[in-house]
Symmetry: C2
Subunit: 147 residues, 2 copies
DNA sequence: TGACAATAGACAGATTATCGAACCAATATG
DNA sequence: CATATTGGTTCGATAATCTGTCTATTGTCA
């Protein structure tokens, strides 16, 4: 006893999971009911100019084959499309398709909604500090902050 | 552009994953190399007095069957044991076994180490504020904070 | 420049994780 | 006490993931 403090990593987990759950539930309710959590975690990483499968894999920390597999499904469901990478004939860029843009728009709305609830609970000042601290923490916990 | 702020849920994800990765890597290096991430996520939830499989399932948000399956493996590997629940003859308590305690001790050490690095980066004041904010956020994002 | 290594992506097969359904035993409820 | 609920497991199916291997393209450097 005495040192029964929950570790910071675990404390970060609860909001993360809560947000993910809310967004997924809203997506399902809105008719995007064919997307799975694993697919969403890949989808989330696609940049505005498109992203390579191997980059998606690296950022999501799964094997290239897994990313290929999940992108296949996202493509079949109409959320993304694969286009040749003009700068490298070996590569292809995964880009968000029309249906994917709709899903992104919904996700952004829900995210803002949930953040508003959190800010309501914490207060504006503490929320701003939280964002600031997490952003700085990202510098040493996320190798891909450039994305 | 302009609204390109990363959402708070995702910002929470990076430290969470970083911590999980560090602990798992240290565990593997220390000879606890037969435990998987899925198993660890269940194991992590076991309370000091033991916890029922259905509670583990609920907290980890997996089906009872999945928890049973993972506890089976943890038991075979010597990390946990199942004992009858004295208060309910239907139930069994999953308890941490000797080898499990060793793994917990290692995990605690690594967690403290990583937190020290984070505190180094953020400063003590900001770290304390971060813990405070996340703890308050847990009130509305984790239904099982009692654990 | 041309041989060779490295990279991007995909396919095949095996393993792990997960869920839905059905089941048994014990407990709670009327 | 009859019935519903709860805790746990087993079975079968599906989803997700990895290792290994392959082709095509690109990068390197002697």
């Amino acid at each position: 006893m005495g040192d029964d403090q929950v570790n910071l990593g675990l404390l970060c987990f609860f909001p993360y999971r809560a947000m993910e759950t809310r967004v997924m539930a809203a997506a399902t309710a809105a008719g995007f009911d064919d997307i799975t959590l694993a697919q969403a975690r890949i989808f989330q990483r696609i940049g505005p100019a498109g992203t390579r499968v191997s980059d998606l894999a690296e950022q999501a920390r799964v094997a290239k084959q897994t990313a290929t597999f999940l992108v296949d499904q996202l493509e079949r469901a109409g959320y993304v499309e694969r286009v040749p990478d003009p700068t490298d004939a070996r590569a292809r860029l995964v880009k968000i398709a029309a249906r994917g843009e709709e899903a992104v728009a919904l996700a952004r709305r829900v995210e803002a909604e949930v953040e508003a609830e959190w800010a309501q609970h914490l207060g504006r000042r503490a929320t701003a500090q939280l964002r600031e601290a997490l952003t700085r923490l990202r510098e040493i916990t996320d190798p891909y902050q450039g994305t």
